[in-house]
């Protein structure tokens, strides 16, 4: 049975108008697009302000004076809009970048380099997969080795060629997965339209 819930009807209207872009750009799509962006930004602002209140102002009011420091540092970021005091924003940005880099550098070398290298050069439980991983790593590195030209000349040039094909297989798999995700998003909205709105699905 078709839904009598007004919120479902509104959601169905926006779903159809957004989908209509696949056929052609039109005023209804533009309306839905702007409404969506406005709703997302409005929601994000409210959540941000609420977070500031919960983890900032409330703490200061409760007597935790130290919380004034991050609040003030945060406010300095907005000074970039002032023609005279814009330089203050660099302190806020410096704090943000410094903390971010510090947190990342603490573990990125281990997580993204050392662990991956160990995996690439050790066979592990699955010997065949270990050999394949090592071979893939080696041949793909060779493909991007431009400083040694001999790698790409003569009989040994077959190795970077193998690396190229292995990369193409990886790109193909990534493309297939992307298509599957996009289709899944479409199917999700169609289920909403057919089941929740029109009541055509069990």
């Amino acid at each position: 049975m078709i839904s009598s819930d007004i919120s479902i009807w509104i959601a169905a209207f926006f779903t159809i108008t957004i989908m209509s872009y696949a056929f052609r750009d039109n005023p209804l799509f533009k309306f839905a697009e702007r409404t969506f962006i406005a709703a997302v930004i409005g929601h994000a602002v409210v959540m941000g302000v609420n977070s500031l209140r919960q983890f900032g102002f409330d703490k200061v009011q409760a007597g935790n004076i130290a919380y004034i420091v991050p609040i003030v540092v945060g406010i300095t970021i907005f000074s970039r809009y002032h023609p005279k005091y814009y330089w203050l924003s660099r302190y806020g940005m410096a704090a943000l970048v410094g903390i971010g880099v510090g947190l990342e550098l603490r573990t990125v070398p281990q997580a993204n380099i050392v662990s991956q290298l160990i995996k690439a050069i050790t066979l592990g439980d699955n010997v065949l997969m270990g050999i394949f991983t090592a071979m893939t790593t080696f041949t793909v590195i060779l493909h991007f080795t431009f400083t040694v030209r001999k790698v790409h000349e003569g009989p040994q040039s077959v190795l970077p060629q193998i690396g190229r094909y292995l990369m193409l297989i990886a790109f193909g798999a990534a493309f297939g997965n992307t298509v599957m995700t996009r289709m899944n998003l479409l199917v999700g909205r169609l289920i909403f339209l057919l089941r929740d709105w029109l009541g055509l699905m069990a």
């Binding site: 696949a22 056929f23 052609r24 997302v40 929601h43 994000a44 959540m47 941000g48 609420n50 977070s51 500031l52 919960q54 983890f55 903390i99 971010g100 947190l103 990342e104 603490r106 573990t107 990125v108 281990q110 997580a111 993204n112 662990s115 991956q116 160990i118 995996k119 991983t133 990886a170 798999a173 990534a174 997965n177 992307t178 298509v179 599957m180 995700t181 289709m183 899944n184 998003l185 479409l186 199917v187 999700g188 909205r189 169609l190 289920i191 057919l194 089941r195 055509l200 699905m201």
Partner: protein, 283 residues
């Protein structure tokens, strides 16, 4: 004659026609499901076994890192995995570093799963939700060191009044972290969880991601930094089967299969046109 060959026409099928075929076909398959057989894959079974292997009373930290855009793919997977955790006596702590996370929690947990009525669970005792927490990776790193920094749940109840949080001080009190994420490089991405929880502390980590993210996350899975990795598409149907909760994931399986057959057919047609034109030009 227009001078266009069959191959020219095949190469220039208007996109409107392709989209129309796709829409009509998907709608038909959704309303009249074929019921194609589904095989539970090893990856899905791995996450299921990981949760199944947790002793009663274990603490699971669930991270909602998707919004309305990712809901069609991750919503069914989230619902199925949460059903599984509520079927077992686990303590479920839900957090989100996404501004849209609270809405997803309201829609999926309060609106759909309803742990209180479906499983007799009590909010605050068996599960809790801490609402949106700003800060991204900084918050994530701080939570590993001190979970009490959360302060209050999304209803404003103090953490000390939530018995589900009893004894939960830092990463060492969390038995499993599961992130449902659409982020491959932004806030709450699998890489962030690997870098801030799994690598420095060895925290068990499971990732439920968009299908298109699996190639970027699988290196962490291959090295054992991620204990279980499943994509939302496809795996949600398998998980629904495992926990005996048929829902949206299973409903979408036939439609997804149809969509892929169509894409494969179009790729084949495109290649036939390409090769055909090449043959004609050579002739």
């Amino acid at each position: 004659m227009s001078g266009k060959s069959v191959f020219d026409r095949l190469e220039s099928i208007p996109r409107e026609i392709i989209y129309a075929i796709l829409l009509v076909g998907l709608c038909y398959v959704l309303v009249n499901p074929i019921g194609l057989p589904i095989k539970v894959t090893g990856e899905t079974r791995e996450l299921y076994d990981l949760i199944e292997g947790l002793p009663e009373g274990s603490v699971v930290l669930v991270d909602i890192a998707f919004g309305a855009g990712g809901m069609p793919e991750l919503g069914p997977a989230f619902t199925a995995v949460m059903h599984h955790m509520f079927q077992r006596n686990l303590r479920v702590i839900v957090i989100t570093l996404y501004t849209e996370g609270p809405q997803m929690y309201n829609i999926l947990v309060d609106g759909k799963i309803k742990p209180d009525t479906t499983y007799g669970k009590t909010y605050g005792t068996d599960y809790c939700f801490f609402g949106y927490n700003a800060g991204g990776v900084t918050t994530m790193a701080e939570l590993a060191r001190n979970m009490r920094v959360l302060g209050t749940d999304y209803r404003g109840t103090s953490l000390d009044q939530l018995s589900v949080m009893d004894g939960v001080e830092d990463y060492s009190d969390i038995d499993l972290v599961i992130t449902f994420t659409t982020s491959s490089g932004g806030i709450s991405s699998p890489a962030d969880w690997v870098q801030q929880w799994a690598t420095p502390y060895g925290a068990p980590l499971a990732c439920v991601v968009l299908k298109m993210m699996t190639p970027t996350v699988s290196p962490y899975y291959g090295t054992g930094q991620v204990d279980a990795l499943i994509p939302g598409a496809g795996a949600s149907a398998e998980y629904e089967l495992l926990v005996n909760r048929p829902d949206e994931g299973l409903a979408s399986t036939d439609a997804l299969s149809f969509a892929h057959l169509l894409v494969v057919a179009l790729v084949v047609l495109g290649n036939i046109a390409f090769l055909g034109k090449g043959g004609a030009q050579r002739a």
